[in-house]
Symmetry: D4
Subunit: 158 residues, 8 copies
């Protein structure tokens, strides 16, 4: 089964990612969640990324805050798509996380989502969009989800 | 053939995108290039996005500057992956383009690359990484490219 | 009756807009309020903008946050004046909304107000100022309102 | 004749405004251009704003840079619509001009355009959109202009 | 008696200024406090500034937030020193107030203090430093105050 | 004679200050110019500030860039007014200099001018405004200068 | 014994530094803590820095907020390594403290850590790393600490 | 011999580092220069950091731009001090590099210098200050260098 690997740099990032994980469950997508840090567990991170492809991982989602190296370091070790989620930080509110995630040099792409929970949820959706290219079931669910969002907006009366 | 659609909001964005387009040629990837603006040609943009999937487009790359609505508006019309390239701007240097591209609300993901030419090149690579999931030939070329970058760095003597 | 159309990208924006809506009521101005999103209901938004002019709408007020495409997309579909209200956001505090609203390319003007509730109230006043050019009753009320603000300040004793 | 008043804080701002002035000429709109500063000629500015309405001015365009008080001070003296153009500055690139123009307190609306020449041109268009509400000839020209922009984009071949 | 004029753009600014006003009382400095707005009471502000010098005012302190034109507009009407206090704002945290206060064009100086209460207190001290040049009593109190601050720091044990 | 002390942190700052120095000459104000650094000559700076008051200095102007400690350190050693000029920097364009100059803690006021040459010129004018409180000749020249600026603006024809 | 000197500009900074001080205790490192301000006690600060080296201080940690001159001024008085900790501030969230600490001119190095508590803790660790070069016991503890962090991350199950 | 390891993420960073390297030569310090990228050569970087300590490296200097992960990744692999130099970037002028370098999470310290050439030179001086703790010859040269800077400033006549 094609899988999405969700990696967070710290267990405190789980709060930001929870709704994204719930979404992957709803979609019955294959996925696994890891806490691995580019700064505190660099070797285990490298080893995991190296082995993930063999275990069916097709897309990585990496969430980290501050000097957020996680997504870029994962991208250094793979040519599978890596999606970055900048975690909101206490002082600079995630501007540091965003620039550390998105301003990658030419050659090592990272796909940045928006800061915080909205970005986390979009990371899950974007990973599903990627898998949906080759999986009509996922593509169909995405189309339904999009329609449902539309309908929900249109139902609002003010 | 699976195709990548490269859309720019203005013909002046071509300079930023040229190296990315060259890369797609090198990879012999299927792609098409359009100038379509979320602000000046909204209906044609919508029509194009609607028909693109039928013509084999699997991934969109959207480059725009300033109040850069292009990638988000494309994402509004499709559940295929949309990659955004924030164009560097004269006054705010692309910070406006970046925030307009990346800070998408939950539900409508856009994958932002870095500002300017590096981001454009990475958009092409990221699109290829997405197609590479289902295409061993592209995946193989990406692995070679990554290795070549590594070798190039290691050859430098100072 | 000349009308003001107030559009918000999400029902959560109503809190920001409430005082502005109250102001329009006080002025007994013709207005209508809609929740329509550039990203989640693009076709309905387009259809609404296209028909609004026929229903007497003369000015649009568009409030949105983050990668706030709403005002720009409305402006793409009309040559009636479009006023943008950047909604304050959780992480970047509305700087993202402001730049996404105000940094429009040449050719498609959007009139940005300040971030948040003050901007929303000013959007209502600005729409009234526009209608006041051709409507002496509104112009008269605006002059009274301005005088009342002045008197209120002058009455303060410290 | 309904008139647009274009005020700049310094003669050095003319370069930014030139294309906007040319546009007003093309539209054969009634307009007048003044150099008046909120800081160097406050009394003359006040006097001019007070008399402008009597001379047929319906909309003000105010361009200034740095601690750009011009648009706000004009708005303090009138209930006619005031459009602000933030001039690009040497050090902070117009971010100072933008915030000084757009972050108006509740009660005194200023409609900010984008920084620099694009914003200046849009100020002219926005003023025309305002006058176009009551003037079918202007409204017709705006619709043609919009269509011409669209056609120009669609003609581009890459 | 030489006097310090403290002007705030809104009565809500009093909270920021209270400690500064207390300090002026402690120094038994001559001072007066006014609520006058560059945007809501421009004529009364101008009139007040014009008459202040005749009533013994030697220094102005002007506190305002957002597109803070107050200090600059006072400086437009006088060649007495004007000290600006940028009020902290809800969304942009006073960065807007700071740039609107400090980025004055050549010819019209405004002396900006730091954002918020520290800046307000420093405005009072700075005004006293100015008056202290010609008033040995004030100069003596300032020297004592400075020494007391030093002693207070040195007494801290951790 | 009442004197203005102009201190720059580096001889490269002279370019920014030259017009300000010329202005002091025009006014035939007493002044002296020093190159002294808070970081490279801290003891000489302290000694100079300590002795300056004895030599008739009444106001300090301090220009520095980057982590600009100069004005604050001078203010630490005196209760005479200290005016700071943030020098434009290569990378952050003087935003670093501005925040380092203006964001002083309560108790040690520094009066910040705008970034670069305009700020330098205003520092000279502001120092003259301070001295003008007790010197009718300077006050008269300032009033003439202000009038001349006004006349110059009013003469512009466009 | 080699010592680390921890200096804070204000006793309110202790909250930010407490965990760092605890860490130095855990390591049984030689250290001393002082409250000394570049702005309020400049002479005592200079005297202390001058004497510290004679008392065995090898590294300075300096924590300050706003226009944070402390670390730079210490560095002006010594050629021992100076580590700066930017304190989070109320309005600008420590961006002012960071730029005032890190943007030092060539010749006077200051080593900036991240804003707030994480930066304070890292300052302690970085000082220990410096002393660890010549002290195998400290180096050993640092290696253990690093391993423990790694193990802690790897134990997390989600 | 105690050595300083200077690592740059790209050969284009050499221009920024050249003066720093010259300084190390002048000091006759032991040092080596490498081009190794956290993103393009992660394994070789890890291997090099692991072996460097065995070859006498005591301090690392890491220079990188944009999403600058280099210094943080080196710090992930060692408990020797790591000094980061944020390289100036085209669009965001090194603000991205600075935040990516300095905003490290608790536990993995990186010592950030200022953006660009001044920061690079200071990185060399700071590394020498670290080695100077245990090396009187280096400490003596640093003291001379500091004195020479002072004398140079004091000689300037304006």
């Amino acid at each position: 089964m094609n899988k999405i690997s969700v990696i967070m740099g710290s267990s405190s990032d789980l709060e930001t990612l929870q709704e994204a994980i719930n979404l992957l469950k709803e979609y019955k997508a294959g996925f696994e969640v890891k806490v691995l840090s580019a700064h505190r567990t660099p070797k285990e991170l490298e080893a995991y990324v190296g082995s993930a492809a063999k275990n069916g991982v097709k897309v990585f989602i990496a969430a980290a805050g501050g000097a957020a190296a996680l997504a870029g370091v994962i991208a250094a070790h793979t040519t599978l798509p890596v999606i970055g989620v900048p975690i909101e930080t206490r002082s600079l509110k995630g501007l540091d996380s965003l620039l550390s995630t998105v301003q990658m040099p030419a050659g090592i792409p990272v796909a940045s989502m928006s800061i915080g929970k909205a970005g986390a949820k979009n990371a899950a959706l974007f990973a599903l969009e990627i898998l949906g290219i080759g999986d009509k079931s996922i593509a169909g669910k995405l189309a339904k989800h999009k329609k449902a969002m539309r309908v929900k907006v249109l139902k609002i009366k003010i």
